[in-house]
Symmetry: C2
Subunit: 155 residues, 2 copies
């Protein structure tokens, strides 16, 4: 998996949160380790299928950051992760993947998106099971961390 394929997801996540919630995430250091499962409190996942490859993408938020995004985006500040936060994470997942899909389409990488799924539960972990390498990218914010994960069979 080359960096041209990963970068659109990173920049799309930063763009979506900056535009929708005026939140600037500070990118950390990407990692490739197999046993590095991202840990979050609410995660959006989406499956992707293209002519040459298939894979999965997820974005996990710590509770504090998810609630801060909700507050900035919609003016609400729930005490914990509720159904509105879950729906917001699903929408963010859709928007980030859609943004990455457009950028990649311009570069000749086409894929289709499945429907997003949102997982909630304190400290859950996610393991992508494609054959290819798993890229994990942490992001920092004063309100909490986010972890972007992407995995494709081969690109």
């Amino acid at each position: 998996m080359n960096v041209d394929f990963v970068n659109p997801f990173l920049s799309s996540l930063q763009n979506v949160l900056s535009m929708m919630a005026q939140i600037d995430l500070q990118p950390g250091k990407p990692a490739l380790k197999k046993d590095d499962r991202a840990r979050g409190d609410v995660s959006g996942l989406i499956g992707m299928i293209g002519p040459q490859t298939k894979g999965s993408f997820s974005i996990s938020f710590e509770e504090g950051l998810a609630i801060e995004i909700m507050h900035k985006m919609l003016g609400e500040k729930p005490a914990s992760i509720d159904d509105d936060v879950i729906d917001m994470v699903g929408e963010i997942t859709n928007m980030v993947t859609g943004g990455a899909k457009r950028i990649l389409g311009d570069k000749g990488f086409e894929f289709n998106m499945a429907s997003p799924v949102v997982v909630s539960g304190m400290n859950h972990t996610i393991k992508h099971r494609s054959d290819g390498p798993r890229i994990i990218m942490p992001f920092n914010h004063a309100a909490g961390k986010a972890f972007l994960e992407i995995c494709f069979d081969k690109v």
Copy 2:
């Protein structure tokens, strides 16, 4: 979503666990409620895309049942959900979806599968965000419960 589309997933799950682990799941009552999120300790998820529709499928296991399947399938009995259990749940997800895909293909419903993703974490919940109805099907076993969820945009 008609029952012809859901049944292949139910029977495929029962077949896979019966053949691979000699475990017979007792099907409970399927439900359609929007707010009924399945609760499990380890879940396999997979995205699906067809020419007419897209959706997602998940199967969640309570810890006791996941460990019992591991024990029956591979002879190992870990104290809690470990990396081997997570991999096993990913494989089961692949096998169940593959089995359903074959049955549905024979009926003229074609779809492609994304890569499976496995979520672990006590009491996590899953929300499918397709536009269509979400079918939730509980299964009972002495060792614990399983919850199958399937959701498609339209069929």
